[in-house]
């Protein structure tokens, strides 16, 4: 069964450093998303991406965050200057064209900011 792949599984970084979280969505999916989950609780929407541009973003997704699809397979989330409160599990998701489809999530990247 096709999977969404995320790397690394765990990243530790110092406050103020830049991090890039990587995702490889399912190959025929065209809609991509980043969510985060803090302490195994609420899953928060960050951003959606379609047709090489951001479709929608939340208030969490401020100027410190950016997304990119640098080639035909990868989808990245960059945090320019990490803060302690950015520590969370970050999930990438993708879905097929057609508004009724559910998402396929990756296994996540646990980001720890120290």
């Amino acid at each position: 069964e096709p999977e969404v792949t995320q790397t690394p599984s765990h990243q530790v970084t110092q406050m103020g450093q830049e991090v890039i979280l990587r995702c490889v969505p399912i190959s025929n999916h065209l809609y991509f998303y980043w969510y985060r989950q803090i302490l195994g609780q609420k899953v928060e929407f960050l951003v959606s991406f379609y047709n090489n541009e951001i479709s929608e973003k939340s208030e969490i997704f401020d100027d410190q965050f950016s997304v990119e699809r640098p080639d035909g397979s990868n989808f990245t989330l960059k945090i320019r200057s990490t803060k302690l409160e950015d520590s969370a599990m970050y999930f990438c998701a993708s879905r097929e064209t057609g508004s009724g489809y559910g998402y396929t999530f990756g296994s996540g990247t646990r980001l720890t900011v120290v």
Partner: protein, 115 residues
């Protein structure tokens, strides 16, 4: 704005008994509704969805959910719980009138099934 509420942080049920995990939603137009399950240290897995049609939808692992428009609810059900159903369950809503570009998740309900 779309929102979804899961009023119970935790649901406890004995194996073999029926289970219900509650969800209510708020959207401006017709909702697309979803349930996902998360096992420890894993991503969310899609269980089922309601888009249109029959109010009772069936999904993976014997789960089903009932859409009730008047009560704006989409409760997850299973006739006979298994210990292996113990996990974190998320209800989610997609507001198509708002463009459908994001899906909002509830806070999650932890299901414990005791043997």
């Amino acid at each position: 704005a779309q929102s979804v509420a899961q009023p119970e942080d935790q649901v406890n049920v004995a194996e073999g008994n029926p289970l219900t995990v509650k969800c209510t939603y708020s959207v401006s137009g017709n909702p697309y509704l979803f349930w996902y399950v998360q096992y420890p240290n894993r991503g969310l897995q899609f269980l089922l969805k309601y888009i249109t049609g029959d109010n009772l939808v069936k999904g993976s692992y014997g789960f089903e959910a009932e859409f009730n428009k008047s009560q704006t609810s989409f409760h997850l059900k299973k006739p006979s719980a298994l210990v292996s159903d113990s996990a974190l369950y998320f209800c989610a809503v997609r507001d198509m009138e708002a463009g459908g570009f994001k899906t909002i998740f509830g806070a999650g309900t932890r299901l414990f099934v005791k043997a």
